[in-house]
């Protein structure tokens, strides 16, 4: 089997296309690169979708936490504490067991049967947990940024007659985003890192369709040699991280485009936000 044939057979193995059986002996470097790369599709899927939806929820929760009314503030605080205070690993287990308890046959809602079986699959269940988790972490970042908006900016906005939603849309929200962006970049990086936990927790890999680390540990288990497959995962993730930093720096530059070039918030990687 040449390398091209291997790529043809296994490039989309993780999402169910191509060769069904995984290689069992005589592992080549090409097979390891292809299969682990194929698994990376899952990491990117989890990361991108959780980040996109999590961003919206995080904004809502950050503003809820900044609210004066305890009825709005307390639930937001508890949500953030629940997801930031417990290990993601346990959250995955818990979510999987809880989703398993849903009735197998589906739930009747106004005569329409809602299927529940799909919720225990990794693509939905784990995504849901990651979405809530990143929302909690990002909300804390956004809340911090919201509190550090310069007082003068808000007063200036009011002096110009901006109030209510106009003030929020034109001053508060952009400034919050600008201040939070370096920290949010780190959150995004570590969210992608934590997607590797999915198939090591409660969620099973259906028909051996797993993520990058799943295939890497498959090879390491079969060959008793951790010195090939794990560095390959590491390489893929370093590339992914660099891509993310580039993308988020571009957005950061756009957010700070009105400032003198030496004043924009510089993105520095701080490992404080991993789970």
């Amino acid at each position: 089997m040449t390398c091209w044939e291997t790529i043809g057979a296994y490039a989309f193995r993780s999402i169910g296309y191509g060769e069904r059986l995984l290689p069992r002996s005589d592992f080549t470097l090409c097979q390891q690169f292809t299969l682990i790369g194929s698994g990376l599709i899952w990491n990117i899927y989890f990361g991108v979708i959780a980040l996109a939806f999590g961003f919206v929820l995080a904004n809502a929760i950050a503003f809820a936490k900044a609210s004066h009314s305890p009825l709005v503030r307390k639930p937001a605080e508890w949500f953030i504490f629940l997801f930031r205070g417990s290990p993601l690993f346990i959250q995955f287990f818990l979510a999987y067991e809880a989703l398993q308890m849903l009735p197998r046959a589906g739930i009747d809602v106004f005569g329409i049967t809602v299927q529940t079986a799909w919720t225990t699959k990794a693509w939905a269940g784990a995504l849901f947990v990651l979405f809530l988790n990143t929302a909690a972490y990002s909300a804390e970042i956004f809340h911090g940024a919201l509190r550090s908006i310069p007082k003068g900016d808000l007063e200036a906005a009011e002096a110009y007659g901006l109030t209510g939603f106009a003030k929020f849309r034109r001053i508060q929200w952009p400034t919050m985003l600008r201040l939070a962006w370096p920290a949010y970049t780190n959150e995004a990086i570590f969210l992608f890192h934590s997607t590797t936990l999915v198939f090591f927790s409660g969620f099973p890999a259906f028909q051996q369709r797993g993520d990058a680390l799943y295939y890497a540990s498959y090879f390491a288990d079969k060959t008793f040699n951790p010195f090939v497959s794990y560095p390959i995962v590491a390489g893929y993730f370093i590339a992914l991280t660099l891509l993310l930093i580039w993308l988020f720096s571009a957005i950061n530059a756009r957010l700070n485009r009105h400032l003198p070039s030496n004043m924009g918030g510089k993105i520095r990687l701080r490992p404080q936000v991993i789970r």
Binding site: E97, H193, K222, P226, R275
Partner: protein, 293 residues
């Protein structure tokens, strides 16, 4: 545990539950909480030590040492920590066995890596095949401690490196002007002052370390996650449990444990921060000074 538990037929309701929760297996699970706490207690100082030397190396004058230090601090940035957890356990295990192999069996001719197998001579097995179960468990635990210390040492090195850079330059220059040698400046001026800058990062790291402990399960240690899965399921390979699938409740208990532990840690760390800020030339120290007056 209790005497009433001796007769299973008489048990009902709460008495049954009290007997159930004090069975031998559950006692093992409670000990596993101790394992987690022990891991934290052992790992944290070792990781700090690794981090301290990593940060010192990253600041070193010598290029090679600086490269090692920078490489060590940089390693956790791009790669998920769980990759290191899975990698180091096997790599350390094989490294130790290979060393023993070269020492104890110099005239062993077969290659160690033979196709898909990693084979060392029987005398080089760590621990020896004949060793009791306890030794195997202890060895597994020590490997886990070392792995955690290596990974979290890299995180700590990042934090401590940042803290060393954050000490005001004027402080060090003043010390130099008084004629202190570089080693003295480091020991007497830099190290005592860096902690207040390192503390926010280190407290974060402690909370992260707490949340990383369930990964022990992946390293093959019988920790609380292992027991929660084992005791919660309706049946194991060996026998049936007298309850349906209770894993949800067991994991809920773990969740509460971690939340409580995090909360207590947060409160304690906030106190330490306040204590260390006393008399420091920082905004927090200034606020404390004003509060007294």
């Amino acid at each position: 545990m209790f005497e009433i538990c001796a007769d299973p037929k008489s048990l009902e309701g709460l008495t049954w539950l009290s007997c159930y929760l004090t069975s031998g297996k559950h006692m093992n699970m409670y000990w596993a909480f101790g394992t987690v706490l022990l891991l934290l207690a052992v790992t944290a100082p070792i990781a700090m030590l690794f981090g301290f030397f990593g940060a010192m190396a990253a600041r070193s004058q010598f290029f090679v040492l600086r490269l090692i230090g920078k490489g060590y601090t940089g390693m956790v940035r791009g790669v998920p920590d769980i990759v290191f957890f899975l990698f180091f356990v096997i790599a350390l295990d094989q490294g130790i066995e290979y060393l023993m192999h070269t020492v104890r069996c110099p005239d062993w001719t077969d290659p160690v890596r033979n196709g898909l197998e990693f084979r060392v001579c029987p005398e080089a097995k760590v621990p020896l095949n004949s060793a009791p179960q306890v030794v195997h468990q202890f060895y597994g635990f020590m490997l886990a401690v070392l792995t955690f210390a290596l990974v979290f040492g890299a995180f700590a090195a990042n934090v401590l490196y940042g803290a060393m850079q954050a000490v005001p330059r004027a402080q060090l220059e003043t010390a130099e002007a008084y004629g202190l040698s570089p080693a003295q400046v480091f020991r007497r001026i830099l190290v005592p002052q860096m902690w207040v800058y390192a503390l926010p990062g280190l407290s974060n790291l402690w909370l992260i370390l707490i949340k990383a402990t369930p990964l022990l399960f992946l390293l093959g240690v019988q920790d609380i996650v292992y027991w929660a899965r084992e005791l919660g399921s309706a049946k194991t390979q060996a026998f049936d449990y007298p309850h349906p699938d209770w894993r949800l409740y067991y994991f809920l208990a773990l969740l509460v444990f971690y939340l409580a532990f995090t909360r207590v840690s947060e409160i304690v760390l906030a106190r330490i921060t306040a204590r260390l800020s006393k008399g420091q030339a920082t905004a927090a120290g200034e606020a404390l000074r004003k509060a007294v007056i």
